[in-house]
């Protein structure tokens, strides 16, 4: 059929078309248009399917990663650390604050501990917990800006590399 068309196309210049030749041309053109449309549709469907497959794999991978983390049941550790924190265990308070399982009670305990402890991590987790609680609870009365600056400086003096790096980065900007 393609040969027929190309023959017709090349004969355009030399030969004049009569009614039947014109109609046969039109019908072969339309057949070609139909074929091309089917091919275009197939290409588009293939493109959409490949994009959806990619998307599926991305979502699948992210879900797998999340479910692997969720597979680990940490409730036993939360119970242990909550009980220890109530007895004044510093490390338990640090873990609860870091893992997002601390509340205002733990914050108040950490705030008191800051005065006596020489562990810079206490200040680090107290400031981080303060940020979390400010977002969760509007009534939470945490540190003000001036207090945070003083606390960070104190943590640096106690050996907090985190705030020291933060300070040096700020100075070098």
């Amino acid at each position: 059929m393609n040969n027929e068309i190309s023959q017709n196309e090349t004969s355009f210049v030399s030969e004049k078309l009569n009614v039947s030749a014109t109609e046969s041309d039109i019908s072969s053109y339309e057949k070609n248009i139909k074929k091309s449309r089917i091919k275009i549709l197939a290409c588009l469907i293939f493109m959409v399917i490949s994009a959806l497959v990619t998307l599926y794999f991305i979502v699948e991978q992210r879900t797998t990663n999340l479910s692997q983390i969720e597979k680990v049941d940490v409730s036993a550790y939360v119970n242990l650390q909550t009980a220890l924190a109530m007895q004044g265990n510093q490390q338990a308070m640090i873990w609860l604050a870091k893992s997002g399982n601390a509340d205002n009670v733990i914050f108040d305990k950490l705030r008191l501990l800051i005065e006596t402890s020489t562990n810079p991590e206490i200040i680090e987790v107290a400031i981080s917990l303060d940020d979390q609680l400010k977002v969760k609870d509007e009534t939470h009365k945490g540190f003000n800006e001036a207090e945070i600056v003083v606390l960070k400086q104190r943590a640096i003096e106690q050996g907090s590399s985190k705030y020291l790096l933060e300070k040096l980065m700020g100075e070098n900007k």
Binding site: D25, I26, M47, I58, V72, E121, L168
Partner: protein, 196 residues
């Protein structure tokens, strides 16, 4: 392709017009078809690359650690070094883990004489884990998990984080070995004890 057709005089104008429009439409369809066929392979590549890129970025975001310039790290080491000289335990721990060889050796020898939970954990667990000497695979190391559990019982935050990381790591692997299964069992029994 340029349209050049001549018709006999008896061919009506309508049919001539239809002939021209069909010819043009056919060429357009063929052109679109070619463009789509040519772009199919790059499209599939782009899909594959975007998957690889997103996986890489996800991985990088999960393990994100800010990068500091050598100058800032030197200043930090100097400051922490001064604190360590005055006997600050947290400064010594930092140098023992992240200091240069000289600072590390000095900090390690001083840490041997200090008895706090942070220092004991560092000497018992972290030093083994970061040692240059080859050690057994942590996922199947019973001694390692026993040490973690003993510190976790005391509520030591880093030990619990390391236990969770170890359990996650084992659960992530597709083929869990018999030794790893025993480790999982050990962790599970520790957690059951905590619940009771």
């Amino acid at each position: 392709m340029i349209y050049k057709s001549e018709f006999e005089p008896e061919v009506p104008k309508e049919i001539q017009q239809k002939h021209k429009s069909s010819f043009t439409k056919m060429n357009e369809a063929k052109f679109i078809n070619k463009v789509l066929l040519i772009s199919l392979i790059p499209w599939v590549w782009m899909c594959f690359l975007s998957f690889v890129l997103i996986s890489y970025l996800d991985n990088k975001t999960d393990n994100f650690e800010p990068e500091y310039s050598a100058d800032i790290l030197d200043q930090t080491s100097d400051y922490i070094g001064k604190l360590a000289n005055s006997g600050n335990v947290y400064a010594l721990l930092y140098l023992a883990e992240k200091g240069n060889t000289q600072q590390r050796d000095k900090a390690l020898s001083e840490l041997k004489n200090i008895n706090t939970i942070e220092v004991n954990y560092f000497n018992d667990v972290i030093l083994d884990r970061t040692s240059d000497l080859p050690i057994n695979d942590l996922k199947g190391n019973h001694q390692y998990v026993t040490k973690l559990i003993s510190y976790a019982k005391l509520g030591y935050a880093r030990a619990i984080d390391d236990l969770i990381a170890l359990e996650t790591d084992i659960l992530k692997s597709n083929n869990i070995s018999s030794s790893e299964k025993l480790i999982l069992k050990k962790i599970q029994s520790f957690k059951n004890d905590l619940k009771n």
